[in-house]
């Protein structure tokens, strides 16, 4: 098992396609073993005021007693070969439909917030990974506990898309 960060999140590019947008994250692996990294977002959070997109590719934020505990599915995984660079492609919807909490609405009415994440100018990425693939152990710990144990190392990075978008204009 890994004991320290070995995956560096180097750079990010984004591409608009017809019905989604693609974030291409360039990463580099500094050890001589293949690393297996989450390659699908578990949480997508967007602040339209600051145009900041948070892509959470791990399950460490989920509480131990959460209703999600045994519902969490095995994530998609990208292999990054030892001592090499790789690319993690995240195919994201252009607009996220986020249901507001009862605390936000007062519980009276169902409200959905449409988040145009394609407009993001800042992207924060957090990715969990390990030097062996995840394998589920039936009858052992719950899904969340197994995923947290496996994806024990997280690399984080912040990227500025605003400059890239400006350069393209």
């Amino acid at each position: 098992m890994l004991e320290k960060e070995v995956l560096k999140l180097d750079s990010i590019e984004e591409e608009m396609e017809d019905d989604h947008f693609l974030i291409k994250l360039k990463v580099s692996n500094s050890i001589d073993r293949t690393v297996y990294a989450y390659s699908s977002p578990r949480k997508i959070l967007y602040d339209p005021a600051t145009k900041t997109l948070n892509l959470i590719l791990h399950d460490h934020d989920v509480a131990e007693n959460s209703i999600l505990t045994n519902h969490l599915l095995e994530p998609a995984v990208k292999q990054v070969a030892g001592n090499s660079e790789g690319e993690i492609k995240l195919k994201l919807p252009k607009v996220i439909h986020r249901i507001k909490s009862a605390a936000e609405t007062g519980g009276g009415k169902i409200e959905v917030e449409l988040l145009n994440i394609q407009d993001a100018e800042n992207v924060n990425v957090e990715i969990a990974y390990q030097d062996t693939p995840f394998y589920y152990k039936p009858g052992k710990k719950n899904n969340l506990a197994q995923l947290k144990q496996w994806g024990g190392i997280i690399s984080k990075a912040k990227f500025d898309l605003k400059k890239r978008k400006k350069d393209r204009e």
Binding site: S39, N54, I67, H71
Partner: protein, 460 residues
């Protein structure tokens, strides 16, 4: 209490028509199932049901719609969503497939209703899969996801402690109605179609799919034979760690020399599986007539058509060249050369030799097993008699099992735990000779277990 379908609120977030279809399927296309849309009702479109179908899912739906077994429960609202949906905390629906949320949970957007969200997009078209009863994987289509979540809803409103095994057992009623495979109710594993479970990357690549028959067989062996007890679990973890240091280079070579895909499959993957089956037959099934097992294997045309005596001889040559590192120095070199460019085979042989020299787990668990099966097959195809083959295989397996790597986990075990683990190992170490040999190796590394080992050896 009523069962609602969330109405399209103008944001394109909810799909009541889809929810209706999935509920209609749950009713088994019972024309008694319907809806009433009162636009003034903020919760959504209320369902109605005058049941005529007698199936279990229809009965459950009737109960949910018409409160047959409980009084004054909260309403249930069904939200059919798509892949772009997230819960209030940002959790992507594609990371859970569906969820049922009781009243009072922070993720519930209401304060008085039970809610369920389920992904009707099938993970943006990739499909969801779950573990299948009996081994392998099976699909998790939207009506089944919804039925599973409604099982949780039913537990919430009737005050039953809602667990995954309960919901999964209920889910199988819906699967029966749809005529699809049962889910393994003891496993909560699932994934979105593309994010497949990693079992054996080499087997997945060479057989064309992580869900091929060969990979499912390996997965089954892993889960039902290897991971027994603390020692078995740690042995598997060590093997897993070694394997994923070993396999990426094999995959790289296969990517460079495309012809290696098929060769790796028939030289290693299939012999490994066949060898493991022989070992399972000898150990778990207590079968001493392995000649018959081999005969059954060779009755399969997939084995018989590929593994002729001539081909086995070529395989034996290749395996011995891995052991001695001398691929080029043999009369068989010209035989292999006839198959075209063999640079990749040479590199693979060298890599396997280096790895198996340095890693006891890969050598014991993978290479030696494939080697034993190939040798046994050669004897079988050469017409050597049944008794001789049985004695030879028994001796080989006994020698092999006695060489099982002694994992460092033994250092942590108490005497009682060590005794328990030794008893579990009796399945593998069938003969007194193999037990004595293993015992010597164990106590050489972990002398603290000498007393326990002595008692274990003396008990028969």
């Amino acid at each position: 209490m009523a069962l609602y379908m969330a109405r399209d609120d103008g944001t394109g977030s909810f799909f009541p028509d889809v929810a209706f279809i999935d509920l209609f399927r749950i009713s088994n296309i019972d024309t008694g199932f319907g809806e009433t849309d009162n636009a003034a009702d903020p919760k959504g479109i209320i369902t109605t049901y005058a049941r005529t179908d007698g199936g279990i899912p229809a009965l459950r739906l009737d109960d949910l719609v018409n409160n047959l077994t409980y009084t004054s429960p909260p309403d249930i609202i069904v939200f059919a969503v798509r892949g772009s949906f997230t819960l209030s905390d940002g959790t992507a629906i594609t990371s859970i497939a569906g969820i049922a949320i009781p009243v009072g949970d922070s993720l519930n957007p209401t304060t008085a209703d039970v809610v369920t969200f389920y992904d009707s997009s099938e993970c943006n078209g990739n499909g969801y899969i779950v573990d299948m009863e009996g081994g392998g994987h099976t699909g998790f289509p939207p009506p089944v996801i919804l039925y599973h979540e409604l099982a949780h809803c039913f537990h919430f409103v009737t005050g039953v402690a809602s667990t995954e095994p309960l919901a999964e057992a209920d889910e199988n009623d819906m699967r029966d109605q749809m005529g699809i495979n049962h889910r393994d109710a003891s496993s909560h594993w699932g994934t979105c179609g593309g994010g497949a479970e990693s079992c054996c990357v080499v087997a997945s690549v060479t057989t064309g799919s992580p869900f091929s028959k060969e990979v499912n067989e390996l997965r089954n062996i892993r889960d039902n034979l290897l991971r027994q007890g603390k020692v078995g679990e740690e042995f598997f973890n060590s093997l897993h760690y070694s394997y994923y240091a070993f396999s990426p280079e094999v995959c790289r070579l296969m990517g460079t020399y495309n012809y290696l895909y098929e060769l790796v499959r028939i030289y290693f993957v299939v012999p490994l599986i066949m060898g493991l089956k022989l070992i399972i037959d000898y150990t778990k099934n207590n079968n001493d007539n392995l000649f018959n097992t081999l005969k059954t294997q060779f009755n399969d045309e997939n084995i018989n058509n590929v593994y002729s005596l001539e081909f086995i001889k070529i395989m034996r040559y290749y395996i011995s060249s891995i052991k001695n590192g001398k691929l080029n120095e043999s009369e068989m070199f010209s035989e292999l050369s006839k198959r075209g460019n063999i640079n990749g085979l040479g590199q693979l042989a060298e890599y396997l030799r280096d790895f198996t020299e340095n890693d006891g787990y890969i050598k014991w668990a993978l290479f030696d097993v494939a080697d034993m099966w190939t040798e046994a097959s050669g004897m079988f195809l050469s017409g050597i008699d049944e008794a001789e083959i049985n004695v030879s295989l028994k001796n080989k397996f006994d020698n092999w099992t006695a060489e099982v790597p002694v994992d460092k986990v033994w250092a942590e075990l108490s005497p009682i735990e060590a005794q328990d683990e030794l008893e579990k190992l009796e399945l593998l170490l069938k003969s007194q000779t193999s037990r004595e040999k293993f015992a010597r190796r164990l106590t050489a590394s972990f002398s603290k277990h000498e007393n326990v080992v002595r008692q274990w050896l003396n008990k028969k």
